[in-house]
């Protein structure tokens, strides 16, 4: 299998993007945590002020997996962020290729396309997070020149969830 096409996602891709998001969540054993709907994805990605950008990988009709029948077989979701020290950055939020289509270089091509997007948009860096238990992914990225800032500089990721956000905003 060799032919695949990487392109910017369109509104019609939203059902496939949500399907792939849920597949990736299932792989991470957290499928019940996906509360996003097709309506959210459409509004948030294709409205006047998109919260995210997406590229999808699709295969020609004759190469669709006979088991699944899907032509959109991978995606990457990203957005632009800001570092007050160096300016614009590209943040890679999610990156996934269906199991049946791995090992053909699709993941590598997606990563290269995104890094090209980062450079063309004057971004100094591409950032993302990976669970430390996911050794295969960490090795994949490190082989391509990524640095682990949690190990190197001691950065720890924190979160304040909605319940505590509401408490804090009421305290003001």
């Amino acid at each position: 299998m060799a032919n695949f096409n990487l392109r910017k996602a369109e509104p019609k891709d939203v059902p496939d993007i949500l399907r792939l998001i849920k597949e990736l969540a299932k792989y991470e054993e957290m499928e019940d945590q996906v509360i996003l709907t097709e309506k959210d994805l459409l509004e948030d990605g294709f409205g006047d002020h998109p919260f995210y950008h997406c590229v999808v990988a699709d295969v020609p009709a004759e190469q669709q997996c006979s088991l699944t029948g899907y032509s959109v077989i991978g995606f990457a979701m990203y957005y632009f962020t800001y570092d007050p020290w160096i300016g614009k950055l590209l943040y890679l939020e999610d990156f996934y290729v269906m199991k049946e289509y791995r090992g053909f270089g699709i993941g590598s091509e997606i990563l290269k396309t995104l890094s090209d997007t980062a450079v063309k948009n004057r971004c100094s860096s591409m950032h993302f997070i990976v669970a430390e238990s996911n050794k295969a992914f960490i090795d994949f990225y490190k082989r391509r020149g990524a640095s682990d800032l949690s190990l190197q500089e001691g950065w720890r990721l924190f979160r304040i969830d909605k319940e505590n956000l509401l408490k804090m905003s009421a305290e003001e």
């Binding site: 990487l6 969540a25 996906v34 509360i35 996003l36 948030d44 919260f51 979701m77 632009f80 962020t81 800001y82 007050p84 020290w85 160096i86 300016g87 614009k88 939020e93 999610d94 590598s108 091509e109 990563l111 290269k112 396309t113 890094s115 980062a118 450079v119 100094s124 860096s125 591409m126 950032h127 997070i129 990976v130 669970a131 430390e132 960490i138 990225y141 391509r144 020149g145 990524a146 640095s147 682990d148 800032l149 500089e153 001691g154 950065w155 720890r156 990721l157 924190f158 979160r159 304040i160 969830d161 909605k162 319940e163 505590n164 956000l165 509401l166 804090m168 905003s169 305290e171 003001e172």
Partner: protein, 171 residues
């Protein structure tokens, strides 16, 4: 001490750049600051801003020994979770040392939380250096969870030459 928290204006960028450098010095990485107030103005106040910023200001009678009335800031932007949707990432939160302990840090983060709520965001994320105990304690007291400890998340980066090399291989 009275203070106000307001959305930053373009003319605040010189003060914001000054405080960014003060925070970088505290984080022991001042040589990593490569942008000035000019980039901050261009990137924060054009038709497509890349960040939002709040500034804490005190009245003239409480100005700092160097004559500054803008004494704290919070810089944040919108991000997206494929599981939950709209989120806010707080990139920087800083109050000048002589103005700490007066509720400004708490007011800045509470205002970020308020903006997040108005934009229907489901969570606020940020990162903290592992040795920064005062900040770690402050955030934990507000209900923050350390996801690096709890779930093993690590920050990775493709930067500089590594990014250029990867891009050159793009189809």
């Amino acid at each position: 001490m009275r203070f106000t928290i307001c959305a930053a204006k373009p003319e605040d960028c010189k003060d914001i750049a000054r405080m960014i450098m003060e925070l970088a010095v505290y984080e022991k990485m001042p040589d990593q600051v490569k942008i000035s107030h000019k980039e901050l103005e261009r990137d924060g106040f054009g038709p497509n801003p890349f960040y939002q910023c709040l500034v804490a200001e005190v009245p003239e009678e409480h100005k700092s020994k160097d004559g500054h009335t803008k004494v704290g800031y919070a810089l944040f932007f919108y991000t997206y979770s494929t599981w939950k949707g709209r989120t806010v990432y707080m990139e920087d939160l800083y109050v000048m040392p002589e103005y700490r302990g007066k509720g400004m840090g708490k007011a800045l983060i509470a205002t970020v939380a308020k903006v997040a709520k108005e934009q229907h965001c489901v969570r606020l994320q940020f990162s903290v250096l592992d040795w920064n105990k005062p900040s770690l304690d402050f955030y934990l007291s507000k209900g923050a969870e350390d996801l690096t400890a709890k779930e093993g998340w690590h920050f990775l980066r493709f930067h500089g030459i590594a990014l250029d090399n990867l891009a050159q291989e793009a189809p």
